[in-house]
Amino acid sequence: MKRYLPFVITAAVALATLVSGAMLYRAKLLPALTIPENSAAPGAGGAESGHVRGRSDAPVTIIEFGDFQCPPCANLSEPINRLERDYRSRLRVVFRHFPLGNHLHAREAALASEAADLQGRFWEMHDLLYREQSVWSKAQDVRVLFNAYAGMLGLNIDRFKKDIESEQAKARVESDEQKAVALGVRTTPTIFINNHAVPAALLNPPGLRGSIDAALRAPTPVSSTQ
């Protein structure tokens, strides 16, 4: 019996590892989130009030709940811009804020983008914040950098400084956060394609491209323009 004992023990541990790994995998799979059809309803997260780039009649709409200090969001920023260029009128991109509490400057960055939006430059600030994320995310005083970014974009600095403190900017960020919570969003980036959340494992350029292609092939694509 002793001769076989090490075989029995290692086989038992292998089995236990496989079973517990499979159980953990099932438990960790995020629930498939969807945005209700009637996205104009209170608490829904459709495109009606987010920052939108692209045509309103595009067959595919990407809605991103993002955090400017989140490295995976920054990693996806340029690939999403590329997708926009590739799919042209067939793709619309919507951005919503979901600054995470464990990112020290995320909320301030969201407010900076809203302050830029009040001068019509949201997307320019959005791209710049993601591009420079590694710089400002480690800074002690991010305001100095954000003001410099506003200057680079040709914004009126005095107005930008005022707007970043404004109730209007705060209300916009909070409104997006409430929408995210209502939809069950917990992580960033959370990306919806035609109102269906993209699984975390597909949050990479080929995964997103495949999801967009699948949405384009779908017989009756659900648009979130209503």
């Binding site: 002793k2 001769r3 004992l5 090490p6 023990i9 290692t10 541990v13 292998a14 590892t17 517990s20 790994g21 953990l24 995998y25 960790k28 799979l29 995020l30 955090d67 200090q69 989140c70 490295p71 995976p72 969001c73 990693n75 995470l100 464990n102 990112h103 917990r186 992580t187 960033t188 980036p189 959370t190 699984p199 975390a200 494992a201 597909l202 949050l203 990479n204």
Partner: protein
């Protein structure tokens, strides 16, 4: 305490330590497979490490290799505890490789990524413990 008993205790200890490593590596493998390392929600430092290109080798999560390595260590330590001399050689080889890989990963975290993942540091501590056991274990000429 005689040498044989000391050896059994050390290899049993190595098997127990490798079980902790197996649990850690399995958890990280599942995180990588579910895409949890591709999103923010937990520790930003952990993402910086586990979401980096260094966390995968040929598209396969490093944690998956870690799972296999820890399972190997567990198996070899168990067989070594039961007196299989050849298992000790395999154990030394596996732990030695893990030691070198751990040094590389610590270098990457410290000097390239400037971020530390607590799961990786836990694994590093386990590998150092296993290395100490392999060094301390007395050699044996007996084979069943």
């Amino acid at each position: 305490m005689n040498t044989s008993r000391f050896r059994i205790i050390l290899y049993t200890l190595a098997a127990i330590i490798s079980l902790a490593g197996l649990a850690d590596a399995t958890y990280l493998t599942v995180q990588a497979l579910t895409g949890e390392t591709l999103v923010c929600g937990g520790s930003p430092d952990c993402f910086r490490v586990l979401g980096s290109s260094y966390a995968r080798l040929a598209g396969i999560p490093m944690a998956a290799f870690g799972t296999l390595a820890y399972f190997g260590v567990f198996s070899f330590a168990t067989f070594a505890a039961f007196g299989y001399t050849r298992a000790r050689a395999f154990l030394t080889l596996t732990v030695g490789t893990m030691f070198l890989v751990t040094l590389w990963l610590l270098y990457v975290q410290t000097f390239i990524l400037h971020a530390f993942c607590r799961y990786c540091l836990f694994s590093a501590a386990l590998v150092f413990g296993l290395s100490a056991i392999v060094v301390l274990a007395p050699s044996s000429r007996r084979s069943p």
